[in-house]
Symmetry: C3
Subunit: 475 residues, 3 copies
């Protein structure tokens, strides 16, 4: 996601014009291309302000992305059972903490350090000399903050798919491995100057439909496959059973928080405060809304009821879908991409249920399937002109972009799948992946963490809480 | 909410002086008034940065407003019963998604498109040629994003008042109609160059006490009246019964989120990053705080207990109340407006209960009554000088502003009431508005959506969840 | 937190260089030091934009800090019992509302008004003449908004420690007293030009490890000590009993929200949009993550289970710990400070349990102990050069900073303890502090507030809700 590189890609695809050319003159990264330009003192002063603005904006965007951790935790908690809700919370809190530290220590260097086309090989522990040049106007701390938030997002997607049956210590180690090694390598390929960014028509994934979401979704699929389905998920005849989540309000509030966070995720990926940012926010908004409406209508037609959890996943599907092309597609393109994602997610959820990948929250469908769709969609819908009506819907540059997108999706999917098979196989062979049958049936909360998610007196008005307090008062 | 217009109004009323005059020179919208000015290269560069800053700030404000959707969902869920909580979530998620798409398709053009004094008649589907000039420094995507967030807010206010008894498909259609037609017409009158903005002393509603909140509140009253009260709300003698909400924590966290979102709602309505923005945030803060404290004290005196749900509604009442005058009143004015809103909301809640408008969350009182109060209050408290002590409390310009405010409130209320009667009458005659008695008693969640809000094993430590898992394990 | 003063301290300690020197030229506060400089029109225009940017950024940071109120409410609700959850919500909502009004009326003047070294004596009710100069580029409304959010934070820390047994009206009065008098005096000492900022080596607490958190934590300890432990907290033999919280999801979502809010709390305390801000965000991120991981590992080793509530408190401990030095320490320093805070919090929680300070949420340990640690740590870890590798880990300037830090911590702790003893003793003697035994056993919600936190039909699928609706339908 080097800003120079991304801007060039977008210029090639969408041709957006920045209001403030001063932004292009400000950063040292651009000095070599523009060395003849002499700025007046006033222009230099304005360029300094623009540089600060770029950093402040991306910092705020990073905070919005970090807020998505709360959204993921709520969606996952809401769509799973109460008896393992402390475990869900522990996993979500720890994959963020561990992920951030692992990414700071080595992941960031693997992703953005100088090196070959495959992996960065310098810059451990945020070495400020390695990264002295920054990224456009962004300083190392700003860029790291934003990227660390992304790394933690990729990590946490997996949590829901592996819910209700995974050993906590294995998940703890997994969090470290994906943010330290697996995710950074993919980032290096696409945003760190690696081979996918060096194709003749560079692979384009603006904000990470594939780099973040598909990586998380595939890791989730591998994890769920290694674990096997939850006890009781399938009847003796092999038919899937619905295991309803314990709190729809949690799930939908989580979706709202993720929607809010996505306005950091996508517009922040511009890595600058410029005129293109608001348009990115609008394509994000429209795709998410379209995904929600379409998924609701599809499941309503298919199953006879407007399933709200599916509508929530439809919103997320639309958002994941538009993430790769958010800066390159028209508003119409965004609505179409989101709508198709809203269809895909419904059928994908039923499909994975049928092939016995037990994914309690639909993470594989939302992030894996729609992440791949989003990256492919760039090759179909990236517009010559991002204006709403003027633009042709389909990419004018022929099929070369589409070919690059297919290459990229296949390569990322293959690498992630292989890497995660190694990770989960190693964990299974050493620490073990799955809890005991007894623990799974009784819930992970008390067994793994020593605390129930909901201590008894939640049921107000029942005698439980009252009696126990009275009892306590006299013993 | 055209920035030129609003700035003039505010200049006439409050006379705030912008720190950065450069902001006024930057936008093309101002070029015609200032055509003699020749800027140096440095000034032009600074104006470009200011233009970017304006867009980024309003985008961030829009994200805060979008976050309010989560706040509304939590307040409504918390103050209603668990058996219909999935339905509340579905309504809140869908009125946002449907509302955004409807507003993009036609609502925005009705609101801000060129046209007569009544309604815009051009600019469908965000036509970028129609809106090429932007709004001050704001580009079409920025302005649309902010306005779409507002439209969705107006739509979602109604959800709580119609809770626990409305057919989902009718609510779905309602969401489309209000954001596509009803709300945009009011916006056109006030912020889109329509007749209320053309009065000799233009009607002043800075951020939408009436345009957003009163419209939502009146639509809520009409909807609740058409539906009739929930089963069991009134005794055989016709006395109202309290039906307590199922989660006070949800309700109050919702209030906090709405408070946070209001810092986008009001300060963002400045539609620019300038020196007036922080003052708007402070009047917002003080009015919300005053509303909360006063409503708590009033209900404490009146009923003998400090009812926390009423305190939460008091905070919202104060915020709604100050929204129209937030940029035109002193800090003292804000405290007084918020305090009076905190009194009004308590008595209004009891009043609507008595006249058998069953509004489970108090939306009519908070948004309808206090929205009207806020718009009127502009005519009473708008200050010559917004400094805290120096300003006279009451508007110096005589009664002309007050007359305009009364005209505006009456016109908006009348139009909204008539339009919503037509909408709900049509829905009642076709799809039907109310669910069956059986469904209402058992809860809308399972009947309408096929999922309970809280699946059984939420009651940790009870045998339910455990037994069913064991049972599942063996069948 | 006067920006001039803080910048000087930081310059002396860390030596960060601002990208945009224009920022230094813009504010009137700097004019006296730079009076020979003549700016071109372009530079002046850029300085105006920078001034607006400074205000907008700090306003956004203030909104993030205000959002922390929701985080505190969720953490406290989650870690206490359901039967008093409405009371927790009422306290959190009201300490914010009351706190904001009290701080606007007198607290702000005590804190930042001109006066001696002990307390400000002018500027009541946000008198704009007293504060006409602003703070660097920040105007009175911006600076007040940020500081009011801080004052409310100090107030709300106490709520959790006094949970489940405090009379609401006494808490209401306490909220007023701490934000009107106690907290502002400490602020005056450190950020308002008072005696701790006038030491030869000025006391350094960048964002309030001691000023906000330790003050809150000590007030919490005094409050909990005055109240005595909850009924049932100790066995007849005097051994502490675990009273598990009623919702771990609430607690951990609260931690996430607090983490998000801290990106306003610490980076916003720079009081300007400049190049130092992102680095502050990164030390904040790393310390919070380290605190979470270390606390989890320590409690895992100590107690045998990875207690998620303790991990959440570990995150908060790391954040509290780094808050004083966030702008002065290296990334390594932040990781070490956070890690030590993560160890301290675990042992502190067990320690206070043992000495019969019943603090249901761990507020004394998190905010009191780790707040003190954070302030001391500035004397140990403030770096000559904030680059990651280049800097020596320990402070180069000898022991003078450490001595100042110890003086400051002791003085603040002593004053707060004495002041709060007076406050709580006075409340105990007049209104009374503790509810009746009956009320405590049955829960404060119904007795104090007249509403249960969770009305009966939360237990979906059980006959309760259904029956009562049916019953209601026929009576």
């Amino acid at each position: 996601m080097s800003s120079t590189r991304k801007r060039l890609v977008r210029a090639g695809v969408g041709g957006a014009v920045a209001i403030g050319t001063v932004a292009l003159l400000a950063g040292t990264a651009f000095a070599q291309d523009e060395e003849e330009v002499v700025l007046t003192a006033g222009e230099e002063a304005a360029a300094s302000v623009q540089a600060v603005l770029d950093n402040i904006w991306v910092l705020i965007a990073a905070v919005l992305v970090i807020f998505m951790q709360a959204g993921f935790a709520l969606v996952e908690a809401g769509l799973t059972r109460a008896k393992s809700v402390s475990n869900i919370m522990a996993k979500n809190l720890m994959d963020f903490c561990v992920g951030v530290l692992a990414f700071a220590a080595v992941g960031f260097a693997f992703a953005f350090g100088p090196g070959g086309g495959f992996i960065g090989t310098e810059g451990w522990f945020l070495n400020s000399e390695t990264f002295a040049e920054g990224w456009g106007n962004l300083s190392l701390p700003t860029f790291f903050l934003f990227q660390a938030a992304f790394a933690a997002t990729a990590a946490t997607i997996v949590s829901g798919a592996m819910a209700e049956r995974t050993k906590f210590k294995s998940y703890f180690v997994y969090s470290f491995l994906i943010t330290a090694f697996v995710y950074p390598i993919i980032v290096h390929w696409v945003w760190g100057g690696g081979w996918l960014s060096q194709l003749d028509t560079p692979y384009h994934d603006f904000a990470g439909s594939s780099v973040v979401h598909m990586v998380g979704g595939i890791a989730a699929a591998v994890g769920a496959a290694f674990l096997g389905p939850r006890i009781g998920k399938y009847t003796k005849d092999g038919k899937p059973r619905a295991i309803p989540g314990h709190s729809i309000p949690f799930a939908i509030i989580g979706v709202f928080i993720l929607f809010v966070g996505w306005f950091g995720f996508n517009p922040g990926s511009e890595l600058a405060a410029d005129a293109a940012v608001p348009g990115i926010a609008v394509t994000t908004l429209l795709a998410g809304a379209a995904g929600g409406v379409v998924a609701l209508l599809v499941v309503w037609l298919k199953e006879g009821k407007p399933d709200v959890a599916m509508a929530g996943n439809g919103v997320l599907a639309g958002l994941v879908g538009v993430t790769a092309g958010t800066a390159a597609v028209t508003n119409w393109g965004a609505v179409i991409i989101g709508s198709i994602a809203g269809i895909l997610v419904v059928f994908a959820v039923f499909f994975f249920d049928r092939i016995k990948i037990d994914d309690p929250v639909g993470a594989v469908s939302v992030h894996g399937v729609c992440g791949a769709w989003g990256a492919i969609a760039v090759g179909l819908f990236a517009a010559e002109d991002s204006d709403f009506w003027k633009a042709g819907l389909f990419y004018g540059g022929g099929t070369s972009q589409l070919v690059s997108q297919i290459i990229g999706v296949l390569a990322i999917a293959a690498f992630t799948a292989v890497a995660m098979v190694i990770v989960f196989a190693a964990l299974k062979a050493t620490l073990g992946l799955r809890v005991s049958e007894e623990e799974e049936i009784e819930g992970l909360d008390v067994h793994e963490h020593g605390v129930p998610g909901y201590a008894p007196d939640i049921a107000m008005g029942e005698s439980g809480g009252l009696a126990s307090s009275k009892e306590m008062a006299t013993t």
